[in-house]
């Protein structure tokens, strides 16, 4: 009786928990998105912001968040639609922590009433205040080397920022390694970077390199050495067979998946495979996969269907031929055809049989021991 009451209560409770949600389709934007300024003690400046994409009657609130937010004031705290506003930034005399401090100027939708699950959009523009490091200090902002194909030129690109209070002369140098072996080393022209500015360094190696994976290090020496590493790949028109399906069930047509990986720095179209399955030199099946397009350096799968309906269990040889452009990659692999695994019912029947057998043995032992006792009496 108690259980029945409980069921009724939770059905009543559950039924009245509703999830009516607001239908939403909204946009909110802010411009400018990013502003950068160097820190100067007691500096004062203003930024004009414009809200974009808001509905005309959409109420919005404006606030600042993040580092140094307490030094920001606005000409208005609430807006209507795509309105403009001004942020007044009044910096302190000193900021103890050097580096980048980000103030987010945020605009958020105001929605007074909600029915169900509502959403509010909020957008933030970043005001980046760069506080210089004492003395000489530079950071590598980026170091990028493009992937190419063998024989094509390679571009090394790096951006360095002088975050200190002094101007620096940088002496750059790039090292290229294949594994642990240094294969190339070049010195770039030294350059003066004024404090709180950044410079871009590039180097083009026209001759390129042979296919392979390389790692490169850029070093900047300004009395102190700063370095950054990156990997890059030089491609070859080759697609490798990296894995494949190897276990199949007798009596079924099963998917035969072939994992492929492009080693080429361009897309390769019309990639497909043919699979010839043999047993003792006699063909037992032959199938072709649909063709796919491989993006540069992409790993993907080709899928064909292996017919094991009339095959016996055992090991077979599959010759996988991969066709692309005017090339063929081949791999000979072993695959296995097995009986289907036991069904759950069969396993349960065997388990039950063993259980009954053990019970029977127990009963026999019990009866035997009882009989022995009665004989002794």
């Amino acid at each position: 009786m108690k259980f029945k009451e409980g069921v009724i209560i939770f059905i009543v409770f559950a039924t009245i928990v509703l999830f009516n949600s607001n239908e939403v389709s909204a946009a909110l934007g802010l411009t400018p998105a990013i502003m950068r300024a160097d820190f100067k003690p007691y500096d004062k400046f203003l930024i004009n912001f414009n809200v974009i994409g808001a509905e005309g009657n959409q109420k919005l609130e404006v606030y600042a968040s993040g580092d140094l937010a307490e030094y920001v004031k606005f000409d208005k705290d609430e807006l209507l639609g795509s309105e403009a506003f001004i942020a007044y930034i009044d910096l302190p005399g000193e900021i103890a922590k050097p580096g980048q401090h980000v103030i987010y100027i945020r605009v958020r939708e105001i929605k007074d009433t909600y029915s169900g699950i509502g959403t509010k959009l909020e957008i933030g523009a970043a005001v980046v205040i760069k506080v210089p490091y004492p003395g000489r200090y530079a950071e590598i902002k980026s170091f990028v080397v493009n992937n190419t194909n063998g024989g094509e030129s390679i571009v090394f690109y790096s951006e360095v920022e002088n975050l200190g209070v002094e101007d620096l002369t940088l002496f750059p140098n790039i090292e290229v390694y294949s594994g642990n072996k240094l294969i190339d080393n070049f010195t770039l022209e030294n350059r003066l970077i004024n404090h709180t500015t950044s410079e871009i360094f590039t180097k083009i190696v026209e001759k390129g390199y042979d296919a392979g994976v390389y790692n490169s290090t850029i070093n900047f020496n300004y009395g102190k050495i700063i370095s950054q590493k990156t990997d890059f790949k030089v491609g070859i028109l080759s697609i490798e067979i990296v894995n494949w399906s190897s276990k199949f069930i007798k009596g079924k047509i099963s998917e035969f998946q072939i994992g492929v990986e492009s080693k080429w720095n361009n897309d390769v179209r019309n990639v497909y495979a043919q699979v010839n399955v043999t047993k003792n030199g006699n063909q037992v099946d032959f199938f072709k996969t649909p063709s796919i397009e491989l993006k540069k350096w992409e790993k993907s799968f080709l899928t064909g269907f292996f017919n094991c309906e009339n095959l016996e269990t055992g090991k077979y040889i599959a010759n996988i031929s991969l066709f692309y452009e005017d090339k063929i990659t081949e791999k000979i692999v072993e695959v296995k055809v097995s009986n289907p695994p036991l069904s759950r019912n069969v396993i349960m029947a065997i388990g039950l049989g063993i259980f009954l057998f053990l019970v029977l043995i127990g009963i026999i032992v019990y009866l035997f021991l009882n009989r022995k006792k009665s004989f002794k009496k």
Binding site: A14, N20, I34, G53, K111, G116, I117, K120, L121
Partner: protein, 212 residues
Amino acid sequence: MKSETFLFILSIVIIILSFTSIFVSLYKNPNVLQKLTGYVSTNYGYVNLSISSYVSINLSTDSVSWGSGAINSGETNATLYTVRNGSAVVQRGNWSATNVTALHVENMGNVNCSLSIQTGKNAHDFFNSLTNSNEQYMLNVTNKESGSCSGDLLGSWVNVNKTSGGTRFCNNLGFNKDVNEIYVDVLFTIPYDAGNIGQQSDVIIITGDASG
């Protein structure tokens, strides 16, 4: 015959005048040839054009609307969750999953932005299970377009976060047209002993900050 002679003489005169004109022009302005070709060798036009950076997000999914429903008899909870733009799932309950899809967020700006999500309530605030069990309110952010967003929490169901700032799901939601869209799936596990009855509500704040 007379007219033929006249035309011949007129042609000769015109040819002589033409050559004289060319000669005079070249003599007066030797650079005229360069100008006649229409090829500008050193003079460039000047266009003053400034493009402002802007950060903008668009929320374009129309519905996350489960309507009303009940937990199946004999069950202690029901689970409801959206599956990207596919059919939503309702387990152990009879809520409608028709046209219920994930929130769809797009970076419409011209800079990358981070993406954080804050809710007004957590699961207990929402349902107030009397036994403090069988209740869940979670989000799962996935890329609609591969590579749109990067972050450790991508592809995992994460409990909602009602603290200020919420949970940052994306560090850099791209702005390039092919890699700028994500889905935000929502999951509820509704307890049989919910203390909050009647229509419940919450607000999800989606924040996009320009990546400074």
